[in-house]
Symmetry: C2
């Protein structure tokens, strides 16, 4: 696959200058893509505990010091205020705006969390001959709320959110083998086959992202998703919070499959 952005840094610079404003699926193969959550310090302990208690949807790649917009572990020199293609600004549990940067909003007590993303292993799926339908169709990945509850922590609680990629059952087995090598990017699927079993009533209407075609002989395959904290933010109703817009990820300098908490000890 050709890409104009061979590295995470190249994607960040394109976002910073406003040259890239759309989803990041397929960009910078091999680099760890990350979900972003920014919260006032007063809520940071509860949220860090929420991530600790829900490691499958929330594998932490980096946590910044309060007020520091630079993720020093995941991408030294990067700026979390400008280096994503699109943000969501949350006010009392609702999305109040979707700006391209948040420099003017930044506050000294804000703590940033970077959480692994399944976009990271899509290049390995493609290299292994597996389909990634939303890339084929030029869309954002479909994401759904489920009936699987996260373990709560303080004000944070809510459903597991999943991403979906359709494929044949044989391909799903191969996908599991590949994705288990990426524990910091959610690892293998959490469910294969029956959307209703995990509380998804209409597979053609994802809560986040775009629907994609499911072809004859294919089943939907679901992965834990780093949008899970956004479902928790909706319930928590904090005065202010910032996240990435779903599908519009932060590109780190970490290499997928070898990065993050598990290998940094």
């Amino acid at each position: 696959m050709q890409t104009p952005f061979p590295t995470g840094q190249a994607v960040r610079l394109a976002c910073r200058t406003g040259a890239w404003t759309t989803p990041t699926t397929g960009l910078a193969p091999g680099y760890e893509q990350a979900n972003l959550v920014i919260l006032p310090r007063e809520h940071a302990f509860d949220f860090l505990l929420f991530c600790r208690r829900n490691p499958r949807p929330c594998p932490l790649l980096d946590v910044t010091d309060p007020g520091d917009p630079e993720p020093r572990d995941a991408a030294p020199g990067a700026d979390l205020r400008t280096d994503l293609p699109k943000y969501r600004v949350w006010s009392k549990g609702e999305v109040a705006a979707e700006p391209m940067e948040i420099t003017n909003l930044w506050r000294d007590d804000w703590v940033s969390f970077l959480i692994g993303c399944s976009f990271t292993f899509e290049h390995a799926m493609l290299a292994g001959g597996l389909p990634v339908r939303h890339i084929e169709q030029g869309r954002n990945v479909p994401m759904y709320d489920t009936n699987i509850a996260c373990r709560p922590a303080g004000r944070f609680a809510g459903p597991l959110v999943v991403s979906m990629r359709p494929m044949t059952p044989e391909q799903a087995i191969r996908a599991e083998e590949i994705c288990e090598r990426f524990p910091n990017s959610h690892g293998g699927p959490v469910h294969v086959g029956d959307p209703e079993r995990i509380g998804i009533r209409d597979i053609s209407r994802p809560e986040y992202g775009d629907p994609v075609d499911i072809r004859r002989g294919e089943v939907p395959v679901f992965w834990a998703c780093g949008v899970t904290p956004q479902a928790a933010l909706r319930r928590a109703g904090l005065t202010v919070a910032v996240t990435h817009a779903p599908g519009h990820m932060f590109l780190s300098d970490l290499r997928g499959g070898e990065s993050g908490e598990a290998t940094k000890g």
Copy 2:
């Protein structure tokens, strides 16, 4: 080795009733032993971040909700106010008291952290034919401040603290093989051989615990130690904090070598 306490729960009950008030080395073989740190909620985020940034000395086994004295992951039903043999109450960076329980001090905003301990793998060392000198000599393990700096987080910073067990160089290699199977109990040694190299000037005068004999042909072998947070607490100077007394650990229900963060995701 005979022990009157075959399980973690048996040790906890003996501590709760006041029947056991001394170090826990050698007790309840196979159960994960744990260091304890209790802090007011306002400092909990910084401390959780400190543990995240220093996973070798601070592998987290459990983090409680504020005000909850029960470690629901590590030992459901246990009570962190009574179930350790001896505590340290810290005031402004100094040890103010070493009580046998802390029920009357407990506050609704206290958060408890349980951190893995190298006592957990000593039974495996003994089973592998390796010496554990402080058990042989009926003493507490010797522990030392080093010149290796931890990564800071907020108010928490300070030196890595290590525990020491003397053995021959051949035995040290075998110890490394055994202990690497216990990543939640600090894993393999951080240094073998030269105390001065890591800033220890007098091996016969440990900062914590008791000195032990080093015999002809033996070298000191050092492991990262969960007393590291106590060195950080000394510097942080919080109004109040509580820890275990060094060597006087919490016995969990987790089985050493298979428990904790790495395997709970």
